[in-house]
């Protein structure tokens, strides 16, 4: 099952590295341009559940790694197959300075809040996203907080610990 997906991916797309692990996880690394075609290919192949979009900040390589997690829903309402165990992690590298990518909302409508969150926490722009407004944070951060070069302890020491206590007059 997973072997056929692997072969289909390798024969359809060039520059794709597919590694299959025993724990039903398949890691696919692709170039930026081929991510959307691969996602569409996988969706047509039955991987219709985008469970997560995540980013890893590899600061030493000066790269962001954008990861899409795909898994199939059940085809029938009450039939469990080995296919549902398979999880595909599609990864693509992005440059760390001025990172931008295309949105996948057209394919997977549930990508919207994930992309919004990534924009907020990593500063990656998604072209074509309808609302890249702040989602969770209230304050503006100079460095988006989930990047590795944002030091939360330093930030707390500089901002929150500098708020003075209320001085009251002794009675």
């Amino acid at each position: 099952m997973s072997k056929s997906i692997k072969e289909a991916l390798e024969s359809t797309f060039r520059d794709v590295q597919v590694s299959f692990r025993e724990d039903n996880r398949m890691a696919v690394t692709a170039e930026n341009e081929s991510v959307l075609p691969i996602l569409r290919f996988l969706k047509d192949a039955g991987f219709d559940h985008l469970s997560l979009i995540s980013v890893v900040d590899w600061i030493e390589d000066n790269l962001f790694e954008l990861c899409y997690f795909l898994t199939p829903y059940m085809q029938n309402d009450d039939e469990y197959t080995d296919r549902q165990k398979l999880h595909i992690i599609l990864k693509t590298p992005l440059p760390r300075d001025e990172p931008r990518f295309k949105t996948v909302i057209g394919l997977f409508p549930n990508a919207e809040p994930y992309e919004r969150e990534i924009h907020e926490f990593f500063g990656i722009d998604f072209e074509g996203h309808p609302r890249l407004t702040p989602l969770l944070l209230e304050r503006d951060y100079e460095v988006p907080p989930f990047r590795k070069d944002f030091d939360t302890r330093k930030y707390v020491a500089e901002l929150l610990d500098s708020v003075p206590p209320i001085e009251t007059k002794k009675k």
Binding site: D23, N24, R25, A27, D48, H49, L50, S51, L52, S54, V56, D57, C67, F69, Y73, M74, D77, D78, Y80, Q84, K85, H87, I89, F108, P109, N110, E112, P113, P134, L135, L136, L137, E138, P145, F146, F150, T152, R153
Partner: protein, 365 residues
């Protein structure tokens, strides 16, 4: 009629949890809804990068306050996968029983919230009391009522105390004895039917498109349950059923929750019968010097709200390199809720939100 913007929450009686929604309304009808989370954002995924692997255990369970146990479980599973730690057979069973107890407790809390919302105060009091009985079990087992920190990489912290299985059976029997009362006052009640039927209805196609899992998906007929799809702990060792409904509305979702509770109780009895003897944990290396090998893992389990996932990356150090939780409330609260609120009336906002089982700290993390 004039359109206007209405802020719903966070300080609002119709809102459970610290969450808010911006509604664009025309009269009583909602034209558009925009969820506004973030009131509980603590930045777990950042904080965990600053703490060692073991130090993270007290932290992760605070992601979801209503049932911290599945979050512990998933973090332990991911660490075990990265460090290749074997878990003893008995620990699998202990974990399953513990997680099912947590599911019962969490569903009773959900039942409290929903009954309260619909105006069934008696049922709400019962549900909260019965949840307290489950919490008493947890308190005896782990020492904490709410946060337990019981699951550990390589097993669980300690075995069941003597006589504990009898007390589990006793507690579950006393809760199960009240199921007819619950049915006659709430689930079979005409008023409940009137107030919940047809509210927040979605089709299976929509549920799949919006990334729904858990009760929201199961109420549309699909038996999608990670415990069956990709079994972990001891869920493949016993025989059990996944309850579903067909209609996909609030009424179906609550009935799925009730059936799941009953199924969980049956499952606990079966697990207790099948539980083998033996150790419940493998000895771990010194936690202060413990380094987890380089690699990445994506694990998932079925929390009481749906698919809970964890993406964990290690660079071979003594701290995680990157952590990302895929919480079930995230798509439910930010996509499904927004879409379902369109064309609903203001009075149904709380009803839809609680029936989707959205818990705010899970969204914000």
């Amino acid at each position: 009629m004039r359109e206007l913007e209405l802020y719903f929450g966070p300080q609002h009686l119709g809102m459970v949890g610290n969450f808010s929604i911006t509604l664009k309304v025309e009269g009583d009808r909602i034209l558009e809804a925009a969820a506004n989370p973030g009131y509980l954002h603590r930045g777990f995924e950042k904080l965990m990068e600053y703490r060692t692997w073991i130090q993270n255990f007290p932290l992760v369970c605070r992601v979801n306050v209503i049932e911290p146990d599945h979050i512990e479980m998933i973090y332990a599973m991911a660490v075990e996968k990265l460090a290749q730690i074997e878990v003893p057979e008995r620990a699998h069973f202990v974990r399953s029983i513990y997680l099912e107890l947590a599911r019962v407790g969490s569903h009773l809390f959900g039942l409290w919230a929903y009954a309260n919302m619909l105006g069934f105060d008696t049922v709400a009091q019962w549900a909260m009391y019965h949840r307290d009985l489950v919490l008493d079990l947890f308190e005896e087992l782990t020492g904490g009522r709410v946060y337990h920190i019981y699951i550990w990489p390589g097993g669980v912290r300690r075995d069941f105390p003597p006589g504990f299985t009898d007390r589990i059976v006793h507690t579950l029997h006393s809760i199960g004895g009240c199921v007819p009362d619950y049915n006659s006052t709430f689930f079979d009640n005409r008023l409940f039917y009137e107030r919940a039927k047809g509210i927040g209805q979605l089709t299976q196609q929509q549920a799949k498109e919006w990334g729904a899992t858990g009760q929201t998906l199961r109420a549309t007929g699909m038996k999608y349950d990670i415990r069956k799809v990709e079994p972990y702990a001891a869920y493949d060792k016993v025989d059990w059923e996944v309850p579903t409904r067909k209609d996909g509305d609030a009424y179906s979702r609550i009935l799925v929750i009730r059936d799941e509770m009953i199924e969980s109780v049956h499952m606990i009895f079966k697990l207790l019968d099948a539980m083998p003897e033996g150790p419940v944990y493998t000895r771990m290396p010194n936690p202060f010097k413990w380094k987890v090998p380089k690699g990445e893992a994506y694990v998932r389990c079925e929390s009481s709200r749906g698919e809970l996932g964890l993406y964990l990356v290690s660079n071979g150090g003594d701290k995680p390199y990157r952590v990302h939780f895929r919480t079930p409330s995230y798509p439910h609260g930010l996509i499904v809720l927004e879409k379902l609120l369109r064309n609903a009336s203001i009075a149904d906002v709380g009803n839809i939100m609680i029936s989707l089982y959205v818990v705010a700290p899970e969204i914000d993390r």
